[in-house]
Amino acid sequence: MPEQLTAPLVVSFPFTRSLGPVQSAFLTGLRERVVLGVRAHDGRVLVPPAEYDPTTAEEIHELVEVGTTGTVTTWAWNPAPRPNQPLATPFAWVLVRLDGADTALLHALDAPGPEAVRTGARVRVRWAEQRTGAITDIACFEPHDGPETGHATPHHGTFTDPVTSLTAPARLDYTYTPGRAQTRHLGNLARHLLTGERCPSCRKVHVPPRGACPTCGVAATEQVVVGPRGTVTTFCVVNIKARNLAIDVPYVYAHIALDGADLALHGRIAGIPYDQVRMGLRVEPVWRDGDRHPDHYRPTGEPDADYDTYKRLL
């Protein structure tokens, strides 16, 4: 059994969120240390505010300002905060009904320990020093002594220089597993050997292998060496630079049917001017030192393959 390959896979992107009017007012309000809610049709005040009534789905716009103090409706002690969570030291997750609101807001409560937290506890907002118009403008909540004071008061919801979008970076770390068939294939590639799998049922050879015959739906385990020579079945000339790719344009991106394979794989053609590449051109792989995959394919000098020999592979 060959070693099972795995590799880290990072999915990371700074997503741009456009906010729409209600979320914009709420998040801009936080920047200005004001907490806004919205009044639903049944009179309840929703904090954080929804753009739409969660019960009737009708649009709601009547913004109100609520207190920055509130009451814990439930809590959970988080002894080991995870990266990106609001506090780096142990804290309580809380749902807080702010004074004047009828629904609860999720956030963190900075408290010395679980003994200091209970449902019904009074808390107040601790503002972040740097505020940008995000839910994290509330750094967290902190214990507070005062009685319930606030009530919802009408608010125009307009601010100078409102926040209309949010940049939300999100990074997730995965471990990628190519699986048994791909692992075998990759091991062979490292030895500059191109392999496919023959289906026990239809006898077709698939490259690259994936452990199953895609048409028959049965496991395929018989390895077959294919190529290394093959035929260009079709191609395009790439004239725009792809991201993160250090290849000068124009270059040829081709489908190559390796001898002995029943479908084409993809590769770059070089060693011939791009405008002389043609369907039927005979090519062979070229590896660069240390690379697992062929860097490109180059002409073998053989006569071109006849169209009839590869047209079923198009």
């Binding site: 390959l5 590799a7 896979l9 999915v11 992107f13 997503f15 741009t16 969120r17 456009s18 729409g20 929804a50 753009e51 739409y52 969660p54 019960t55 009737t56 789905a57 009708e58 649009e59 209309t164 939300a168 999100a170 990628y176 190519p178 791909q182 990759l186 239809c202 077709k204 698939h206 895609p214 048409t215 079945t233 079709t234 191609f235 395009c236 000339v237 790439v238 004239n239 725009i240 792809a242 991201r243 993160n244 790719l245 124009p250 270059y251 991106y253 081709a254 489908h255 029943d262 479908l263 993809h266 590769g267 770059r268 369907m279 697992r292 995959h293 169209y307 047209k311 079923r312 198009l314």
Partner: protein, 388 residues
């Protein structure tokens, strides 16, 4: 017991743009849903279930976004289904919703599809690196361009066919107020001279990247009878899938597409699609796919799709207009693009397509595809209810 006939009683779409920065995700889907409800003269409470479709969640960076959009779509206390069948998803979503009515599980269902590509970047979302694999050598256009070349080789089509299609679709989009691209004064010459990106595909022959949503209200006979405007009736609908890459795959004319069309025609009693279908909204993200799909769908004989294009038959005033809305070439919110085809087909047979209406359209085909040309969804809608 036979199926309940399904009617499209309401249709809505957003104004599509490269970035709809004025609305949240919830605001975007609401804009389309609200228009569909208004069209059907219904309220949120009339909707019994919601079916949502979109392409990969990485496009907006929200996993299963239907969970947080449920409130905005009036779905509290209702069933919500989320469909994802790659690029064909807008069509699949409509068909899943139609089946809920056909099976008499629900009477009135909201189908909705969207994509807000500006929240991330489509090329990023489509080309996340996969360890151990060679880097992708080209973008989406590069993936499809070799198949276009194969089509040209197989049929002897002249180099200008793709240009004709692109020019037609962009001109049609000028008559569609919701379309993303409105390229006033675009000449055939300008399309022909646009940069060659992935030879044989030129810049003006490729689709844009859009924010947008589309919604439809699907209902039963009783719902159709109450509707204030004439509905479109579903006469046939089908999905077909084949593997991504396999020995024997025909990328130029995938069998899944042919089989899917054959199933739809059988259901709808269509024996001569070229004559019996009045207008078609086909998923054409690169202009060359119009002649390819015409053949795949039996609207042109094998090898003759390009001749149909050259003859002008697929122009708005031709005898088989294709993509009078401007198509995917003019508007491409990926997850919604398929549903837009289905919805535009329905608008045509309702006589409600406005400036891009095909006069007297009675039967229309809506078509969507996705993945490596492997997932297909189609429906045939008509002005008259199905018989029998």
């Amino acid at each position: 017991m036979s199926k309940e006939p399904v009617a499209v009683a309401g249709i809505g779409q957003t104004h599509h743009a490269a970035a709809r920065r004025d609305v949240s995700l919830a605001g975007l889907v609401r804009e389309a849903a609200r228009r569909a409800l208004d069209d059907a003269a219904l309220t949120w409470t009339d909707i019994e279930a919601v079916v949502i479709g979109k392409a990969p969640d990485f496009f907006e960076g929200v996993m299963m976004p239907e969970l947080h959009l449920a409130d905005a779509l009036g779905a509290t206390g209702k069933p919500v289904l989320r469909v994802h069948t790659a690029g064909s998803v807008g069509g699949s979503t409509a068909l899943v919703a139609a089946n809920l009515v056909a099976a008499r599980v629900h009477r009135t269902v909201l189908a909705l599809a969207f994509e807000k590509q500006s929240e991330s970047n489509a090329m990023w979302g489509l080309s996340l690196p996969v360890p151990f694999q060679p880097p992708l050598l080209a973008g989406a256009g590069g993936f499809f361009a070799p198949h276009v070349r194969a089509y040209i080789r197989r049929t002897g089509a002249p180099a200008g066919t793709g240009t004709l299609v692109a020019h037609k679709d962009r001109r049609n989009a000028l008559k569609n107020p919701y379309a993303h691209l409105h390229e006033h004064g675009l000449t055939l010459e300008a399309v022909r001279n646009s940069p060659m990106l992935w030879d044989p595909i030129r810049y003006s022959e490729t689709c844009p990247s859009s924010d947008g949503a589309c919604a439809m209200v699907l209902t039963d006979r009783a719902g159709a009878a109450r509707a204030p405007r004439p509905p479109a009736w579903v006469h046939g609908g089908a999905m077909r899938s084949e593997p991504t890459l396999f020995a024997g795959k025909d990328f130029v004319s995938p069998r899944a597409g042919r089989d899917c069309a054959a199933d739809v025609y059988r259901q709808a009693g269509i024996t001569d699609p070229r004559r019996q279908i009045d207008v078609a909204e086909l998923y054409v993200p690169f202009s060359w796919y119009e002649p390819m799909w015409l053949e795949n769908l039996g609207l042109a004989a094998e090898g003759e799709g390009w001749k149909l294009v050259e003859s002008g038959a697929t122009e708005l005033d031709g005898d088989l207009p294709v993509n009078p809305s401007g198509g995917v070439l003019s508007t491409n919110p990926i997850g919604a693009s398929g549903m837009l085809r289905f919805a535009e087909a329905a608008l045509q047979v309702r006589g409600a397509a406005g400036e891009h209406q095909v006069p007297g359209a009675r039967r229309a085909l809506g078509h969507a595809y996705g993945g490596g040309a492997q997932f297909f969804a189609m429906w045939l809608v008509a002005a008259a209810p199905p018989t029998g």
